[in-house]
């Protein structure tokens, strides 16, 4: 009843578009829940690296007496022991997106599907392209997560005869992706398609292609459904045939479920995997959130 709870939310800071979206959804969920449940208090901390995230979690436990922790681990390995320690103190733990490296610590696991993210994109490439077609890939910041996606992508196009000309890191950053794509375009005369693995990078890639005047030659698949990209798909841009979801809103789901678990008797424990869907111009409207910053 009048018992109050504190929920700690630890997420990476908004250093690129997707994380920006995630931050937005986290804050939106918190505002919503605080309005609905006055007995809930939230502590939101954003971290630029794993160590800072551990610090934040320690502070939440030591000074804010949190009852539940929602964490999107900056990296899985380094967060595992600290989160385990939190769990051992009897705090409810919800892990979002990136699993911990030891199973069974968290009470609730809400995640996007990184393997699916790479696979769904790869499948589209395999369906659409054939033997001898050339593609280039822009990867994210070198992390386990990026590795998973790329591995799944590679697995999906295996045997299709698609020729991966080059892979470089665009660091989920528009400017970096723009530069890398410019150089790819200088280097290769024949590119049929680009997997940009993230819509922020896709923006840079499209711009570079446009500048080189090769818009008709290739198409681009980004990912995570940024609103500008979805809009262009809705407008039927031929360069953006499909996109793959990786919803930043999963954090909102996680926070809401956690809150629900505290304030009501609803059993919320378990694993919620939000699969990666293929977005096409036809269904794009469903994935368009004009209010989100992402």
């Amino acid at each position: 009843q009048d018992e109050s709870y504190t929920i700690g939310v630890a997420i990476p800071s908004a250093t690129h578009g997707f994380m920006g979206g995630l931050n937005y959804h986290a804050r939106a969920a918190i505002e919503r829940l605080e309005a609905t449940y006055p007995q809930l208090e939230f502590v939101l901390a954003t971290a630029g690296d794993a160590a800072k995230m551990v610090n934040d979690i320690e502070d939440m436990v030591a000074t804010r007496d949190i009852d539940a922790l929602v964490v999107l681990p900056f990296e899985s390995e380094p967060l595992t022991s600290p989160v385990q320690a939190v769990k051992e103190q009897g705090v409810w733990v919800t892990v979002v997106d990136r699993g911990l490296s030891v199973e069974g610590i968290e009470d609730l696991y809400v995640a996007g599907d990184n393997t699916g993210f790479g696979r769904v994109a790869g499948e589209y490439f395999a369906e659409t392209l054939g033997e001898g077609d050339n593609i280039v890939v822009l990867r994210g910041i070198p992390t386990t997560l990026d590795n998973e996606r790329v591995d799944a992508f590679n697995a999906a196009i295996e045997g299709s005869g698609i020729n991966v000309l080059d892979m470089q890191h665009g660091n989920w950053n528009r400017d970096d992706a723009f530069n890398v794509m410019q150089d790819f375009l200088s280097k290769y005369d024949d590119i049929d398609a680009v997997w940009a693995a993230d819509d922020d990078m896709a923006v840079g890639v499209l711009e570079a292609i446009d500048q080189a005047g090769r818009s008709g030659d290739m198409w681009v698949v980004g990912g995570a459904g940024m609103k500008e990209i979805i809009q262009r798909m809705m407008d039927g841009d031929p360069m953006l045939p499909v996109n793959v979801t990786y919803p930043p809103a999963q954090i909102a789901t996680a926070i809401e479920l956690t809150a629900l678990g505290l304030v009501s008797a609803t059993p919320v424990a378990g694993r919620f995997i939000i699969g990666s869907q293929r977005i096409t111009p036809e269904n794009a409207e469903q994935y368009y959130f004009p209010d989100s910053p992402f």
């Binding site: 800071s13 920006g20 931050n23 990867r139 150089d183 200088s186 280097k187 989100s292 910053p293």
Partner: protein, 333 residues
């Protein structure tokens, strides 16, 4: 002590030549390497790409040359650029209803960028030269401030210029005069004016004097505070100019815009032969430094000889090597 300076002086003849040639040689070596790795390297398109991309950092680095020559440092330029871009985009979006999409909107946007850059530089300069706080701390602080203000303005996401305005503004990055892209023209102009200001004007002299020995400058009736302030204001303005070139490229700004630009700009300045502790600056050297840094990236992308994980290592090695060539200059610092 006479001896000291004396020995340096003696070496100087030899040193200057190496000091001067060092970065130029490194640049030439990189161009040869690039050309031998990929036949498109010297193509019009690639050269334009590399030069146009260098323009942002380049314009900022020219300003940084003055700051460093005068014995200062500015760590805030990258996040200042993000902030200026954010403010510019928001202002332009807000002015569309009144001004419509057209030249006047773009002009107004540019004015906003320049004024914002100017003010940001003024604040840094004021805290450093009037309040007397160590430049490193002031600009480290303002780096955090601008970065997080930008994220806050963008609500964690990306600030995007209205689509029509962007299409109208776009040519400022992509078009040019006689086949030379605007950013390249602006960069060249800034560099030439900077070089003239450094070498031919009292302001340049005063910067060098201030960086070499503040006391002597003061005793020589140089308005030390004002000159120091001016370097930061100039840099702020140039950040504004760089932003004017940056925004039409992708039409957006976010908290991650301009990350590490400060380090790149400072590195370009030092590679170009300006002395980190102040007292001697060379604008054209900075231009060479910027080009070296851009070329390294370009070549790594064009070559794909190694694991992309190692790109950073190769960059590091090349930067060090580029400077080894001028190591004879050591005693000058």
């Amino acid at each position: 002590m006479t001896d000291t300076t004396a020995t340096t002086g003696h070496r100087k003849g030899r040193r200057i030549s190496l000091h001067v040639l060092g970065p130029v040689l490194a640049l030439i070596a990189l161009v040869i390497l690039g050309a031998s790795l990929n036949s498109n390297f010297l193509s019009y398109g690639n050269v334009t790409n590399v030069l146009a991309r260098s323009a942002f950092i380049g314009i900022i680095a020219v300003g940084m040359t003055f700051v460093i020559t005068a014995g200062g440092i500015d760590l805030s330029v990258g996040s200042m650029a993000a902030f200026v871009a954010g403010v510019m985009i928001m202002a332009m979006n807000a002015m569309i209803p009144t001004l419509g999409v057209g030249v006047s909107l773009v002009m107004a946007g540019m004015a906003v960028a320049l004024v914002t850059g100017f003010s940001a530089g003024l604040i840094n300069g004021f805290l450093i030269s009037k309040v007397g706080i160590e430049a490193f701390i002031v600009t480290l602080g303002s780096m955090g401030i601008y970065r997080s203000l930008t994220t806050w303005l963008a609500d964690g996401g990306t600030l995007s210029l209205n689509f029509d305005a962007r299409s109208f503004y776009r040519p400022v990055y992509y078009d040019g005069l006689f086949g030379i892209a605007w950013p390249i023209i602006v960069f060249a102009l800034v560099a030439i004016l900077g070089e003239l200001a450094m070498r031919k004007t009292p302001f340049g002299r005063h910067c060098a004097a201030l960086g070499a020995n503040e006391q002597v400058a003061k005793y020589s009736a140089v308005k030390v505070d004002r000159v120091r302030m001016a370097t930061y204001v100039l840099l702020g303005m140039l950040v504004g100019v760089a932003t004017i070139m940056y925004v039409p490229r992708l039409g957006s700004a976010s908290g991650s815009t301009g990350v590490l630009w400060e380090l790149e700009a400072i590195a370009a300045v030092i590679i170009g032969g300006t002395v980190l502790k102040g007292g001697f600056g060379r604008v054209w050297g900075t231009v060479v430094g910027v080009l070296i840094l851009s070329l390294i990236d370009n070549i790594l992308n064009l070559a794909s000889i190694v694991s992309p994980y190692l790109n950073g290592a190769i960059q590091g090695v090349i930067v060090i090597l580029a400077v080894v060539l001028q190591r004879e200059g050591k005693s000058a610092d």
